[in-house]
Amino acid sequence: MAQNEHLRNFGMLAILIIVLSVLPPNLNLYQRSVIMFTMMYVVLALSWNIISGYTGYVSFGHVMFYGIGSYATAILVVDYGWHWIPTLFVGVLVSFVISLCIGFPVLRLKGPYFAIAMLGAAEGTRVVATVWDSFTHGGEGIGLPNVENSFETYFAMLVVMLVTIVVSYWVGHSRFGIRLNAIREDEIAAESLGINSTFYKLSAFALSAIFPAAAGGIQAYKVLYIDPETEFFILVTIYMKLFAMFGGKGTVIGPILGTFILYIVQEITWVKFPTAHLIAFGVFIVLVARFMPRGLMGFAIDKGWARKGMVH
């Protein structure tokens, strides 16, 4: 790809970061929270996109890594008295190890079988969090110390989002990413043409597991109370999947754009129509799936506004 195309993309990213950095003092608490959660979903959508968009292994259980992260933070802060920042790294590490243990057997499954296995893995983790009273506080959940943290968590999420975007950008413009694409397109051909698919799938899976853990940890510190039902809620997986698909899976800009648009639309409809918003949202999703199956980026490619492929 031309050097100036990278420059343009990083310029756009720099503008986004500057805007998001200078905004907070001018916002009220609610607005700050909305933007923080939007950034969180950018992290989740981009992470889901690495394994499911690039590699084609559609995960229905990605919330488990987010839940593991939030539990790591909550347990270490409340029971062990840690400062909350280092707990994020522990969450990431635990998520990384668990992703390898689960990924190794589960990534041998394909298509719907993989999707369902991941759904099962996430549900299983939720059950463990519910029944393991002595460690996770079980179904009653964990309350975190109530301190004003909206600036801290906002900027922590901004940093995690930035790292996720940069890593996604690298995946989306490298031979590593192309090889993930090749596995998505035809795994047998990819293997026959020199790609060690087990290694690449596991790498992609682990990459897609670590950022949600960091996001989950920050979120736990922000919301001050977590329990298994909310931290392993399937709707979180559905949202990240939806945002990525709406923007265009298998691209870097797609999930970012998709999240900023859909999360804010979702927030507005939720405020205005607390009961009807899920119906409106559902109809919208059906329309997108029907008329824009490859998302905004697919639409842009069809219109000739964006180029096909990720490496040029």
């Binding site: 031979r175 397109e185 035809d186 047998i188 051909a189 293997e191 026959s192 492929g309 990720m310």
Partner: protein
């Protein structure tokens, strides 16, 4: 005549699918630096043999010696990394990746990106696909997909190239092009090529040696003109006289 070197030494290769003996003790030696053909009626085990050679299927028994090493039991990518590349009977290009990305995907990670890009450009030029480099693989015509698959198989500069029905579904002009490329690889670069093909013109006019399979067993080998007259081969194709 000087003893020709052996590129691939296949010994007593077997693969059963339940009761079906797809490959049943197949033995033959592919000569180095030549174009050889592998023929046989439908279901005679040609593609299964290819899949056994490339690690896509695991052989039940037998050996395949390549540079003195038994490659049976290796994973497909390990076989590929030893210098054996292939195409497929029904093309398996990556449909939602561009032509250029299809090419780049097969480059070795050891090769620096810049070199890999140059090589991809050269090979696209070689098979006249440069104009389509930014197009999705799935948007190419079938013949162009065959060319892309062929070029993609050459990305790592393999020593041995296995082509599974390169002529099927390809028009004459494109086919002649492809055959020119194949001859160029063999004559100018000393590559070994093994072709599975139903198109007898391709086999008879372009292969130096031909192996015939029937019910998973090699029933004949030799020069194309001898194979044409071979009673066993005629019987395998047309039945008992």
């Amino acid at each position: 005549m000087a003893e020709t070197e052996i590129a691939l030494d296949i010994q007593n290769l077997k693969k059963y699918f339940g009761g079906i003996k797809a490959v049943d003790g197949c033995t033959f030696q592919v000569p180095k630096g030549q174009i050889s053909g592998l023929i046989g009626p439908n279901g005679s085990g040609k593609t299964t043999t290819f899949n056994l050679l490339t690690g896509v299927l695991d052989a039940d028994s037998g050996e395949v010696l390549y540079n003195g090493e038994n490659i049976v039991g290796l994973k497909p990518y390990e076989v590929f990394n030893r210098g054996i590349s292939r195409t497929f009977q029904i093309t398996r290009i990556y449909r939602e990746m561009t032509v250029f990305e299809n090419m780049l995907s097969a480059s070795s990670m050891k090769m620096p990106v810049r070199e890999a890009r140059e090589r991809a450009e050269q090979l696209m030029e070689f098979v006249t696909l440069t104009k389509l480099r930014g197009e999705y693989g799935g948007n190419l015509s079938y013949g162009q997909q065959k060319l892309l698959e062929f070029a993609r198989a050459l990305m790592t500069d393999p020593e041995l190239i296995l082509l599974d029905e390169p002529a099927a579904g390809v028009n004459r002009t494109l086919l002649n092009n492809l055959l020119d490329h194949i001859h160029h690889l063999q004559e100018d670069q000393g590559k070994t090529i093994l072709i599975v093909e139903h198109d007898m013109n391709v086999i008879m006019n372009h292969c130096e040696k031909v192996f015939v399979l029937d019910y998973g067993v090699k029933i004949a080998e030799g020069l194309p003109e001898d194979i044409q007259k071979n009673e066993d081969v005629i019987e395998a194709y047309f039945g008992h006289r």
